[in-house]
Symmetry: C2
Subunit: 370 residues, 2 copies
């Protein structure tokens, strides 16, 4: 295992830990803000750091198209490029090929696709994916290339897809080789089928990865099925390794997943929703454009130590959105990231104190109202 | 004179000074970033402050439409609203009525116009203008309502317009009354006619204002005519009071105007150009979208103490603009404001050293190349 993962406390299945990387420690459970094109949308690096984020995620698909892997390598890798010196996790690109590109063609070798930007053709194979992430982008945590099984697939389709992802995992591991300063995470697939999730998890564990992701969730199955699938997957993952639930999610999804033993999360929601005027608060999300905030002098969350959360009135933020001012998008994105980090910090503290269930019950009650 | 204006040094006609306001000192010559709708577009207050800006400008026209003067008063005024605690100058709204609104109707009483946002009808008179700026927006430096004479007006038209502005100045002064913690600036008009500029300036000085602005320039007359008009106006303004050239301008315009005795400036150029990918450097402006920057690892200006100027490569900024990332607009706006403030700081230092002409010659040579 390339990065040391220390579990400091447990509360039920929830784990308080630290993942130690050459670029710094990641306190878990961790939320990774998404920096798709080597920028956490609208925010400067110091703004993101000030929220307490230990790691961010960047998208291989976007970076391989712009500025391209070759160019990023010449420019010194993604950390130097965007001036973020803490850990970065990159996804494999497979999910965006599936969701953004056109003219996809899957073969055993890999996937060919047309760029959503200019239609140019590209090939992504396990080997190219490792070269992109490890040598060109130079991220710290590298995800295997997988196929994200579509929700609604029948068991046979899900099995075939999962088994392809396993074969790709093996090729990724070979291509990744014996690097020591980066980590390779495998991705459990199998849709909502418990037997497939078990087979996928056990095969990856046999192969040996630095961490294990649960993929193919938050793709339309809903909160209940997502939780059930986590429940049937986690028992087959080793206690000793970090577990990452990809692309999740809303605060309640994160909380319920931590209770089930997940350590890492990423989601575009805080920044995407922020750009559209939605702000998270401890009493649930609000739409700042709502007329009821037009003379509301209270800040979004006075308890959060972030300028965007505690320094500006809702009346001012409402005004900025009404006037289509960029600063509104900046401040709500920033606040939402700060809110997510504040939530992770509270979750970690409650695991340490053995009080996560009480916290979860309080949050469920508060958030159910909205 | 409500605010003390101390002139610390002179170099030719250029003046190094400090305008002392209840909300802090303004080092002159000063550049005021424009915060139209109570936000310097895309930037947080700490970002603007970090550039060394002592004062910003806000637009009465925009604020009277959104959030409206009445609402701004209930919300505690513009400083509290946008969380900027240093001085704010507001224009009168007249210029934007002229440039943005439709269905304008000028009378001796004032101007009625239709909002460019929703077509709603509004009336702006000298008295309403004072109430808006002094009581509702609660700015520190308040501009008289004037009519910005169109460039190309003949002498008779320019005289009538200038005389209307003088009558409005008198009504503004009466309405402004004996307030002591705010200042009222008069605006010299008269288009490019020396005799009209003289008459306007002398009449305003007779009336007695806290500062004198030169209006009706940078409206299409070009650099030469602008400089000539400043030259025929300045001799009629008192040495003891601050002089403000409205809406100017490019770095070279500012430098040439300082040499002619101007103390204060405002312009949307640094933020507007920044949002469109233009960055100022000591060697002239560059368009960061230009392909030649695609692998340029140098920052915009390493000598400027601003994250946007010295921390990110041109290659990264080029990438952000290519990807339509908001952060690109943020960083170029921020850098341009920092560049302007750095220029003002150098101008002040050179006035103090008696070396402004050498500095101006160097800049003219550098900027002429571009």
């Amino acid at each position: 295992m390339n990065f040391e993962f220390e579990i400091k406390a447990k509360d039920g299945k929830a784990r308080l830990g630290v993942l130690k990387t050459p670029r710094g420690e990641i306190r878990t459970p961790a939320f990774m803000p998404v920096g798709t094109a080597a920028t956490v949308k609208s925010l400067t690096v110091p703004q993101v750091k000030a929220t307490g984020a230990d790691i961010i995620l960047a998208n291989t698909y976007h970076l391989m198209l712009r500025p391209t892997g070759e160019r990023l390598k010449r420019l010194g890798g993604v950390h130097e490029f965007m001036r973020w010196d803490k850990p970065i996790l990159t996804d494999s690109g497979g999910f965006q090929v599936w969701s953004l590109s056109s003219l996809r063609k899957m073969t055993e070798e890999g996937v060919t696709f047309a760029s959503h930007i200019d239609g140019s053709r590209h090939l992504l194979t396990p080997e190219i994916c490792m070269e992109l992430q490890a040598d060109q982008i130079q991220s710290d945590i590298i995800m295997q290339l997988d196929e994200c099984t579509k929700f609604g697939a029948n068991e046979n389709q899900a099995r075939e897809s999962m088994e392809l992802s396993l074969r790709w995992a093996k090729r990724c591991k070979t291509a990744f080789g014996n690097r020591k300063s980066q980590a390779l995470f495998g991705i459990v697939q199998g849709s909502v089928f418990a037997n497939l999730r078990e087979q996928s998890a056990k095969s990856l564990v046999d192969m040996g990865c630095d961490g294990y992701a649960i993929g193919g969730l938050a793709v339309g199955e809903g909160h209940e099925l997502m939780c059930q699938t986590i429940d049937v997957t986690i028992p087959h993952l080793p206690e000793t390794h970090p577990r990452y639930l990809m692309g999740v999610g809303k605060p309640i999804d994160i909380l319920e997943s931590v209770l089930r033993g997940v350590d890492m999360f990423d989601c575009v929601l805080p920044t995407r929703a922020g750009r559209h005027g939605q702000a998270w608060t401890w009493d649930g999300p609000i739409n700042i454009k709502n007329a009821k905030f037009i003379e509301d002098l209270t800040p979004l969350e006075s308890s959060i130590d972030c300028e965007a959360s505690n320094n500006y009135s809702k009346a001012y933020l409402n005004h900025l959105f009404k006037c289509n001012e960029i600063l509104g998008q900046v401040l709500l994105s920033w606040h939402n990231i700060a809110f997510y980090q504040d939530m992770m910090s509270k979750i970690r503290a409650h695991i340490g104190n053995g009080s996560l269930n009480e916290f979860a019950n309080e949050m469920r009650a508060r958030w159910a109202k909205n």
